[in-house]
């Protein structure tokens, strides 16, 4: 790999800074008392404390999964602090009331919140560490009956809805990290779209880890009632810390008859330095239940950050004629490791799913696609199309594909396509001979490679993702 290519991929993390808002941090360690403390701090109802404690019991009996194609030192779960909240947490009606320090943080990230809201008309539920500090556009959404708030608020203000759906898509015993999350989650987003309502704007949440050594366990629940539709954007950036941080989020989506949920993510957690020191461990469980007939769940993700990514946004296609989609771009560089993909579980009749996965590996990184397409005996007429493309940059990166296909109905139709390509010196020379430098060339090749996925992103996100990818790969090709 030439020097230009190296320099292009190896830019320092742009969003590496720590804001100095005082935090209220729980002592390290996890036991039933820690969980009671979290629940008390958040003034939660009894049923939720029980949910947490049961999850904790389940978690104690579970073991960390070792099957992913990633390697890292054993995590000491007793060395993590499970709660951290900014001390100052006022209820704010407008951005003017937000701590200016916080606003500056978002500006450093290149996401001036006020501008975003004014120009783009996006309601942003700001999650800073684990507690929401500003929720906007809520009134406008409330007019059409949409509830969009932090999980903590939802628990207090809409307990019946939360209780009805929480843990129904991803039960606490689903897996090790989901159980952990169910026991200790601190906050996240809650979104409820009532019957027949088309959400008038993209809903967006910015997550941000801000306290060193504090694990972050978000919990997000989105419910779209009959005939409702919503597009939800999740963007993540985090400051550059030297030690690893655990991040184990759970996201549950429920779509009833004819409902449509589109969930888009741009993930740029701190990936560690170029030697692989530091970086976030991102162990996420995301699943959507297409419960009703003709319902649709669509996941789009652009994964560029984290030292380790372990994430399989999935769809359970329960309703007849329901549709599941997964569009993914995963970029790894330096010593990053990603094991990501999806599960499409076809249960209803004539269910359809599409998987488009693009993996880009540079530096010494390792990028794996892992996907399951499962057709249950009753899923007559099920169809799946999967496309998994890998691109290698340089000599030392790895790309792997682990497709699992389990079909129990002979009327189904499954297609799987895969390809591996490489950004070569000769391609870059061709660009150079036309006056285009390596940086612009790599950007163009990568964007061409990821086009099918970027097309699925909301416009503003697509622009951001394009810039993010170029920036992540700067220095790696040449």
């Amino acid at each position: 790999m030439s020097a230009t290519l190296q320099n292009l991929v190896n830019q320092p993390y742009k969003h590496g800074f720590v804001t100095s808002i005082e935090s209220d941090v729980a002592p390290k360690g996890l036991n039933a008392d820690t969980i009671r403390m979290i629940s008390t701090k958040k003034k939660e109802p009894e049923w939720l404390l029980e949910f947490r404690l049961k999850s904790y019991e389940a978690w104690l009996k579970m073991e960390e999964p070792i099957w992913p194609n990633v390697h890292y030192p054993k995590i000491d779960f007793q060395a993590i602090s499970y709660y951290s909240a900014p001390k100052q947490k006022p209820k704010l009606k407008s951005m003017d009331e937000v701590d200016p320090e916080l606003l500056r943080t978002f500006e450093k990230l290149g996401v001036p919140l006020h501008e975003r809201m004014a120009l783009a008309g996006v309601a942003v539920d700001v999650i800073f560490d684990s507690v929401s500090v500003a929720t906007t556009y809520k009134d406008k959404l409330a007019e059409v009956g949409i509830i969009f708030c932090s999980m903590s608020e939802a628990v207090l203000d809409h307990p019946e809805l939360v209780q009805k759906y929480l843990g129904t898509v991803i039960p606490p015993s689903d897996n090790f990290y989901a159980a952990l999350n169910s026991a200790v989650f601190t906050d996240g987003s809650f979104c409820y779209i009532p019957k027949g309502v088309q959400c008038p704007m993209d809903l967006s949440t910015y997550f941000r880890i801000n306290t060193e050594e504090s694990g972050q366990f978000e919990r997000t629940l989105i419910v779209a009632e009959e005939g409702a539709s919503v597009s939800y954007l999740e963007g993540c950036t985090a400051p550059a810390f030297s030690s690893n941080q655990l991040h184990a989020a759970v996201v549950e989506l429920v779509a009833l008859d004819n409902a449509d949920i589109k969930y888009s993510t741009v993930q740029n957690w701190y990936a560690g330095d170029e030697k692989g020191v530091g970086g976030i461990y991102n162990f996420v469980t995301k699943r959507g239940l297409a419960k009703g007939v003709n319902s649709r769940i669509s996941w789009t993700q652009v994964e560029t950050g984290s030292a380790i990514t372990w994430k399989y946004p999935s769809c359970v296609l329960l309703g007849d004629n329901s549709v599941g989609e997964f569009y993914s771009v995963a970029v790894t560089n330096h010593y990053q490791q990603a094991d990501t993909g999806t599960k499409m579980i076809h249960i209803g009749k004539n269910t359809r799913s599409t998987i488009v996965s693009k993996g880009i590996s540079a530096g010494h990184s390792n990028n794996s696609y892992r996907g399951l397409v499962k057709v249950a005996p009753g899923a007559t007429g099920a169809r799946n199309y999967s496309q998994c493309d890998s691109m290698l940059v340089g000599q030392n990166s790895g790309a792997h594909t682990f497709p699992y296909i389990q079909v129990a109905n002979n009327s189904s139709q499954i297609e799987h396509e895969a390809s591996t390509s490489k950004i070569g010196e000769d391609q870059l020379f061709y660009f150079a001979q036309r006056g285009i430098d390596a940086e612009a060339a790599v950007s163009m090749i990568i964007n061409g490679f990821c086009k099918d996925v970027f097309q699925q992103l909301p416009m503003e996100f697509a622009v951001e993702a394009t810039a993010l990818l170029s920036f992540k790969l700067e220095g790696s090709v040449g």
Partner: protein
């Protein structure tokens, strides 16, 4: 065409170069002036393609001696992309495929990059579309070329036309056409050659690198050079190409050795 007192575009003196430690060019001399068309011919392995890639700045080759001046400046001071912006154009023998990158977007990026360097206005996608479609007529290209990935799945002839299209867009000072005739059927050859002829003018220079004489029936050179073992051993007019066609290359080498021997 040869113009009296025309400015020198390219001046190569004693150029020596190696690839992976093997010496390929061994003291090559060549002077090209504005308005001229030069043909460099020679057997396989004589160093013709190496020479074109070195002029374009391919990193696989190491220049070990000699000098190359382009429009009065040291060519080796410029990175490959700077050479291209300054007006060095190489039409590749094997244009590489770039899957996923749409031809129209690629063409517009290269056009705007070079235009910007020359202090000229960039074109927006709509303006560029008009501009490029006009240029495509020159090469009898169908507009659907614009929507395909760069060179991907192009036939040999389509790839070569795409190269000459870029030459037409970028308006280079020096165009080096590396075996542009290879892989072309007679119709495609005629179209490509016709395009090149229309692009040749008194301000630019063209160097044709070719193994066969047949291209020279369509693009008539002012000078024909014979290359062997890394240097130019004979230079003549267009009739030299015909002589090579009928007699092959061996006699040139024999004659050259005889002359060299006599001088020694």
């Amino acid at each position: 065409m040869i113009y009296p007192d025309s400015k020198i575009v390219l001046e190569v003196r004693g150029l020596c170069a190696t690839v992976n430690g093997t010496e390929i060019l061994k003291g090559l001399d060549l002077t090209v002036r504005r308005g001229e068309v030069h043909a460099i011919m020679g057997p396989n392995g004589s160093g013709k393609s190496t020479f074109s890639k070195i002029l374009a700045g391919h990193s696989a080759y190491e220049v070990t001696g000699g000098s190359v001046m382009f429009e009065g400046q040291n060519l080796f001071d410029l990175a490959p992309e700077e050479r291209a912006r300054a007006g060095v154009f190489l039409a590749f023998q094997y244009p590489i495929e770039i899957p996923g990158v749409i031809n129209s977007q690629f063409l517009r990026l290269t056009y705007n990059t070079v235009q910007t360097h020359r202090g000229k206005e960039e074109l927006d996608p709509l303006e560029f579309d008009d501009y490029v479609r006009e240029k495509m007529k020159l090469l009898e290209m169908s507009p659907d070329f614009l929507e395909r990935s760069v060179n991907e799945g192009f036939s040999g002839g389509e790839k070569k036309r795409n190269e000459i299209l870029q030459m037409a867009m970028l308006d280079p000072r020096l165009a080096i056409l590396d075996e542009t005739d290879s892989g072309l059927d007679i119709d495609a050859l005629r179209i490509v050659a016709n395009g090149v002829n229309q692009l040749a003018n008194k301000d630019n220079a063209i160097v044709l690198v070719t193994h066969y004489q047949r291209l020279l029936n369509y693009i008539v050179p002012d000078y024909v050079h014979v290359m062997e073992a890394g240097r130019i051993i004979k230079t003549g007019g267009k009739e030299l190409a015909l002589e090579l066609e009928s007699r092959g290359y061996d006699w040139v080498g024999v004659e050259h050795k005889a002359v060299a021997g006599a001088v020694a």
